[in-house]
């Protein structure tokens, strides 16, 4: 019995150290670069979210998005800044790259802020393109007119 008591005192009570899981080490910031050949809109800026229209559908990119490569279609890109504000741009085509380190490169062939587009001109172009489609003869001409229709439709939809 003496030995037991002795043992009890000798062995330190092993306390299980419990603590909360480590806070996620600062969500990786998204380094966002958005440019066209003639103009830079964002250069390695940290933003909250970006919505992009791609050939496989529109999707939103947040920090720590799975890496991917996509090709853009004519449509609206919405950038949600860290302060909650959002700006919209119309892009004609291009590519978007999301890398493993959460950097995003959005390269558009042509990009304009939405407020610089004129919905009346877009509608007029759309009608013209639709009439041209009827008259287009060979594959290349048809493809060009269809591209024009797609782009103008997207502009009209974006502005309405």
């Amino acid at each position: 019995m003496m030995a037991a008591r002795f043992l009890r005192r000798a062995l330190p009570v092993l306390r299980q150290t419990r603590s909360y899981a480590e806070a996620a080490s600062g969500a990786p910031q998204m380094s966002f670069t958005f440019a066209s050949p003639t103009q830079v809109f964002f250069k390695e800026v940290s933003v909250k979210q970006v919505d992009v229209p791609t050939l496989t559908g529109a999707f939103g990119i947040l920090p720590a998005h799975v890496p991917t490569l996509q090709v853009l279609r004519p449509g609206v890109v919405t950038v949600f800044g860290d302060d909650g504000s959002s700006t919209k741009y119309f892009v004609s085509s291009g590519s978007v790259t999301v890398n493993a380190d959460s950097s995003v490169q959005l390269l558009a062939e042509e990009a304009v802020p939405l407020d610089q587009l004129d919905v009346a001109a877009a509608k007029a172009n759309l009608e013209k393109a639709q009439t041209e489609l009827a008259g287009a003869s060979d594959e290349a001409a048809r493809a060009e007119v269809q591209i024009s229709i797609e782009a103008n439709e997207a502009i009209v939809k974006a502005l309405e």
Partner: protein, 276 residues
């Protein structure tokens, strides 16, 4: 009279050098204006170009070291009088061709700019695949780059890897010949780190690669144009300075000769009068 013939030669020479000086001065000012515009447009183009190359750097895509088809796109322009711009690119291309043919690879060259064609076609004519003209007169546009890329892709030359050789702009007085790599669709698709990238099918990758090719060519065109204008500015500046030096020296010699002629005349007259 013989004496005035000598003086006439001098005046003709002086007049022609003065004309040359005027021309080089005005060329310098034109180059300076074009350079200012090119440098302004280079800034967004650089962001755009580095964005396009970011994937290859971050995914650390390297070209495989096996015998394959190589393509070199050399970017210069049509016009000369800009220092060592064209010869620098041609030298690098010649060295690359020697390296690659030594390693058993097949190399074809796309010349963007007539000057490059002139420098390469005599010695490396059989490596030349495409020639592009009308470069350098107006600032390069994205459309120009896409024309070059389309022709390359339509040429049917299935390259495994390649590089774009151009002059990268560093400052008003310095530029450096630089290379950027091009990868084929297969190399990119099979690279190890591409597995990280989600949801990529062959079609998307092909579109992406074609777009990236245009972007790289566009960056090279812009950098090359800025370097060329700054080099032309420097070259025309030193030409004008040399011309004014020559004018000063010639004017001095002219005056001395004129005085010698007059003195000789006087001596003849005086000694003639003395003989009378």
């Amino acid at each position: 009279m013989v004496k005035f013939k000598i003086l006439e030669n001098f005046t003709i020479r002086l007049k022609s050098i003065k004309n040359i000086q005027k021309i080089t001065k005005s060329m310098k000012m034109v180059a300076a204006a074009k350079y200012a515009r090119a440098e302004r447009q280079l800034k967004p183009a650089r962001v755009y170009g580095t964005g396009a190359l970011a994937l290859y750097e971050k995914a650390d895509i390297k070209s495989e070291d096996k015998p394959g088809k190589h393509v070199i796109i050399g970017v210069t322009s049509d016009r000369g009088l800009c220092g060592a711009i064209h010869s620098g690119v041609a030298k690098t291309i010649k060295a690359e061709i020697a390296n690659l043919t030594g390693a058993g690879k097949e190399v074809m060259v796309v010349n963007v700019g007539d000057k490059l064609r002139g420098l390469l076609h005599r010695t490396h004519g059989k490596h030349i695949m495409l020639n592009c003209k009308e470069i350098g007169r107006k600032p390069p546009t994205f459309g120009d780059a896409s024309v070059v890329a389309t022709e390359l892709l339509n040429s049917g030359y299935e390259f495994d890897q390649g590089s774009v050789i151009f002059n990268r702009f560093r400052s008003v007085i310095s530029y450096k010949t630089d290379q950027k790599p091009l990868f084929s669709n297969d190399t990119v698709a099979n690279a190890e780190s591409m597995g990280v990238y989600d949801d990529i099918d062959a079609d998307v990758l092909r579109n992406y690669q074609e777009f990236a090719l245009v972007n790289i060519i566009y960056l090279a065109l812009r950098e090359s144009s800025t370097s060329e204008q700054s080099a032309r500015m420097t070259a025309m500046d030193s030409a004008s300075k040399n011309a004014s030096e020559m004018i000063d020296k010639l004017t001095l010699t002219f005056n001395r000769t004129r005085q010698a002629v007059i003195t000789k005349e006087l001596i003849e007259i005086i000694s003639g009068a003395a003989a009378l």
